[in-house]
Subunit: 417 residues, 4 copies
């Protein structure tokens, strides 16, 4: 489906060569200041060509809010946003001679499966499987991010953690998962998008790592080849209690969100795959009272989520992106008709998409958190109207001061900060 | 939420100490033979204690169909299924002296977050975070699996691919992902559930691997500790065309399904995280015509999914499970009130849950495929009623004989076999 | 589908001759006292045979909570409820001689369409089209009603407003709609379920009307015929602001809910069909400040809903039920095979279902209000965390004291009372 | 919510003074020819001012397809459509002196409830409660209507059946519901949109009725007052088997759809409210074999739906629209602040919206049928892959030739014609 979320519902549309791409966002909080200036920065960060980062007045991929605001204030009604496509001429497949791209389904691309699924296919480019589809996601996430920041101070920052076999934090016998690596834990406390972007074009906030990864990309570029990598993302200040078990555990929705991105092959939360190799006695995150009197975990192998529900610690996860399928090298493959042949892609191709994936990963994380937040706000809101439970035979949260040291008023106001 | 799927909708209920656990399945195909005997085998496979496997007449976790069938035939109406809980006495928290388990939120368990989220918590055990919650999923999947097998010959088989640092197919410089490992590729062609179960209790279908993993589990068991591992799963004979981009790509729904299981930390499809380290020229799966004249991929780094849509090749993926949080060792942690203390879990605890996760992974895979299948059947069904497109300027599938060599009748009948 | 609601989600199951009927309710407010005693009264009110009303210890249709509570407190997890069927033996259609009921699709019944839709049909009775299906709805609504009453003092009362051509408030030239009838307006201020039940068996709270309706039913009963009627329902104390335009306007969800009940043919809100005949100058409901300083409407042709959103006035609506299809008279019709013949239903049949529909209408109204309430609580909850808007160029609600005279604290606590 | 439908999902956006209004349609059948010319005619029919009907090249409310088609063929991906707003300047509420419209919530309008619900309100006009919101619905329905017509020859025609107390078919003692009126039954067999439009501006296809209604509208217009009315709609050639009990019965979804339209107060299907007054012996629709050997009903009090499922007969229903709330007369009411005063609306106002509602009612009917069709196509498609049932103990449809005389191939192709 083209809709994501149950409370904060994002519906996207558009392919490479149609009039525009965009989205409708339903369930927007009313009474929030919002203009295109809140949306545009991430749109610009996701554009191809890192020069975009240094060209502030770049007019490309300019988002236009169509509805749902007046005088820069959200009305609570659906917000539609569109970004016009510059090249709106679809390729005429039937009219002239077939090119290679017409005859061959590109290996590991969506050409073959789109034609099989729909029985018809956009004439050229990736259609809806193109990275251009993600524009609507990033636009919608601009609204979510503004709210999450204003209301809860939530910060979501992603960066490139590996390119090919070059890792920012290589696994070691001591640290099979980077969830125990002190440098990693320090990094996620403070890393900002601005810092990440200073390491353009590779967006790995680590001089040594960035240098190694840049070289790796250059090597594959020069060989007319491509390479994959991973993006790590941290969510800070996420309220406790988000995630809707049993099927919509917070990590399940994050995994869904990330694997819905083009070219993704894997997802791990907290200690992840490496965590399988650590004994429970090491992996368990013991509780401790912090300076504010709140119960927090001492370590964070859980990645900020226990039992599918956020526990107040930093949420962090990693997403794997495969090497781009379109490469300059000749490929031995077969045509749609099954004839063997050699496909040679024309033009310049991006040898590694991982740096551009950074704002898209952030966007999807924002959509997941916003949706989970609204579900929990509804629950806490209805609960707050019930008579207090007293003397009952099962554990209840003292709503005077809860386990996190939050007082009644905070709890009644919505989700805890 | 407690509902999974849009077309084949499964809603589950139940915690450890209530009257029963179970589910309602809506969207069931009508006119299919179905009795409890179709459901029970996987219920038995998921039970704690491997002796269950060798006790055919074990009466525990016995499923009862409540509705939706008559004389062993599905009516197309919702099928409710229940499994009675044997121990229905919740622990009286308020009545007597508090035990350790009452005072301490267990580290890396759901105790703390459930209380925070709901403001109230089941008195003992894991409540809805308990593995007992998965019974409803497995029961529902029994219906899906029967249909998928009858209608398309689909086979779904999972097994234990690692315990701790013991891997069935350790990564090597040559094979950073096992998607290129010849032994792995051979295994997924033929592996059956029966074969997997012959390697009880560890369920790794490999003598050497099973032996290494068994020793690893014993080591952690003897140390009153626990260990995680991974489960790999293959789906064979999945029709081409399943998966609903852009948000419900097939791998996105699989990732969602797997990360919704208790204790999971990661998911990877096809080449997965290892695939990030392979050049595109190696990673791309070229097309070739097979003996039946169908277009298939020569390699399968994609794991059977391109552009979010099944391509007819085996779909395979891996899910990471963390070490169980409940261990016999003393743990230094804090009480709900924030006081430091030592928690010592009583009783025997399962040092490794991965072998029991096998049927649950299969169950969730079946639910994902069934839901995606119904979405595509609806699409193909409505398309089949439209006039044929002729002489149009974009690629269309020849419905006489399509790219997979299927003829019109097959296509019109629904999804391609 | 078998699920109703987006936030407070009710999934029902069961037909006449299966093991049990029931439901799973997801999205239940946690921390609310709830036992079977909260659910049973309405279950008993919906039972066939009015003697049920006077037999307090009647053991039939006894509801059993399966999950989601402990020690009588809701956990916030799904609540499953089941009611066992007494007659669980489906009719063996293939085994013996066909009866009339086997050969004939009953006129205006679901027999024909169920067989066409599903390709298979429950052997006897109405299967899922039977009124027995509504048990799950009434059980689920018991939870909603308890919450709505505890948290907002909401009262939902339905009664029989017509049987055949006997109307409680016949339309007149002066009052083409009863929305302007003083007796009607007085009645909806105070009517209770208890009062309605004193007019058993017909449940029209009006001596004259009840007498006329009873006679009408007796007339049709004696003629082995049947007759329809209408049920009117009022919702008092509904918070302002419920309803989710544009597609889920509150009256749209109510209409959906009512027309999903068996045997319904129509729905009208407020002035309804009669309101079409009244000039706008009369139909408009002017505003006035009430004694508490709140803005309210002077008249209530709107039926408590403006622009699809509750306005704080009583919500009232009317639902039409057709005469029962199963009658004792001989009917000239055709068999499934198309042969003409005479169908004669055996046994006693209910000549008028309207009195029994009363608690079912109340149940569906409760589900609609509960779902709309949770949607609005989520919206108000997220809005409450935003900075106050000041000096903006469009109307904003003064959150110090809003248009309803409610103060900040009330608003921040959730939906306004 | 702003989304309608589960399989054919329509999401709309836009208010009176934003940049554009429109929709995204997800679940569109791929491979269908579609251009703006398929969409525009109904857009034009819904425009204010009947002169639109006679101005073929009117450029207003011009729809633009943004995505989801190439070379006039649907791709199966989401289709976004937009219609630009001509007046995009919202009214500056804060900047200058308040007008009457700023101070007064209009009686029976959405002003008061929108402000209460969202805490903020569009500065002028009805915002999202404006009839302009329906543009997105009509655009989306253009796609559904094209498909329904091409694939099943479905025809949907609505017309004005009453204005004020002037009825096309007044109820009589003999015909308390028009479901038994021979003239009505004749009309619904053949009525076309073209015929309806020849009775512009009132759109009642009956010379006498149209004349009476026109006079009624003129009377209220001259009195600066307004009047309501009803729209009746027929759906012809709807396949048997549509509707998803128990909650999504076909009439329930139709009722939902109609009551989601602005200014609606009631809905009735088939015999409707009048049918409550008819004995069951008259109301029941007996079966008979028609000339093609199919089982059909002799009468049609059911309105084409039995047990919530279409039975192959014409589906017809009626929707009630209240008098427009905005009138030229002075109205005694209160300001937002609770002060009594007189509101006098400026400008010309439409005294009766019913004629314009005709295409909107048709649009919503098309969306309901399309969604129900796809649900049933999915069901029949999955069923068609199952082994035939033989010798079972409950009724099954002979898939060789079913009760409707359809053969296997038709059934396997999808929904029956």
């Amino acid at each position: 489906m083209s809709t994501f979320g149950h409370y904060f519902r994002v519906t996207t549309y558009g392919e490479s060569h149609c009039r525009s791409v965009g989205c409708i966002v339903d369930g927007v909080p009313p009474g929030m200041q919002l203009t295109e200036e809140d949306i545009q920065p991430q749109m610009t960060r996701r554009r191809p060509g890192q020069s975009a980062l240094t060209t502030p007045r770049n007019e490309k991929d300019k988002v236009e809010i169509q509805s749902g605001t007046e005088f820069g204030i959200t009305l609570g009604t659906p917000i539609a946003m569109i970004v016009r496509n510059e090249d709106q001429r679809p390729h005429d497949y039937g009219g002239g001679g077939k090119s290679d791209m017409d005859s061959f389904p590109r290996p590991s691309h969506a050409d073959f499966t789109y034609l099989e699924k729909y029985g018809v296919k956009a004439s050229s480019g990736g259609g809806r499987s193109s990275a251009r589809e993600t524009i609507g996601r990033v636009a919608a996430a601009g609204i979510a991010e503004k709210y999450l920041s204003l209301a809860h101070g939530i910060e979501i920052v992603a960066w490139v953690s590996s390119v090919g076999s070059e890792h920012q934090f290589p696994t070691t016998a001591e640290h099979p998962a980077y969830s125990t690596h002190p440098d990693f834990l320090k990094l996620i406390n403070t890393i900002t998008r601005k810092q990440v972007d200073t390491f353009a074009p590779v967006r790995c906030p680590d001089s040594d790592g960035a240098s190694r990864m840049t070289k790796a990309i250059e090597k594959f570029r020069d060989a007319h080849d491509s390479i994959g990598g991973t993006v790590t993302c941290v969510i800070r200040n996420c309220p406790i209690g988000l995630g809707e078990p049993c099927f919509d555990k917070l990590e399940a929705d994050l995994a869904h969100a990330m694997l819905s991105l083009p070219a993704t092959k894997g997802f791990e939360i907290g200690s992840g795959f490496g965590g399988c190799e650590v004994p429970g006695s090491t992996h368990n995150d013991p509780f401790v009272r912090n300076e504010q009197g709140k119960l927090v975990t001492k370590t964070n192998n859980s990645g900020g989520i226990q039992g599918g529900i956020s526990n107040g610690a930093h949420i962090y996860f990693r997403t794997a992106f495969k090497p781009p399928a379109t490469i300059g090298q000749q490929q031995q493959t077969a045509t749609y008709d099954g004839d063997n042949g050699v496909l040679e892609a024309k033009g310049r191709h991006d040898p590694c998409v991982v740096p551009r994936a950074v704002p898209i990963v952030e966007a999807m994380a924002a959509l997941v958190v916003m949706d989970a937040l609204m579900a929990q706000v509804a629950r806490e809101g209805v609960r707050a109207k019930l008579p207090m439970l007293k003397g009952v035979s099962l554990p209840v949260k003292d709503t005077g001061t809860n386990a996190s040291g939050q007082n009644v008023e905070e709890v009644l106001n919505g989700v805890k900060g």
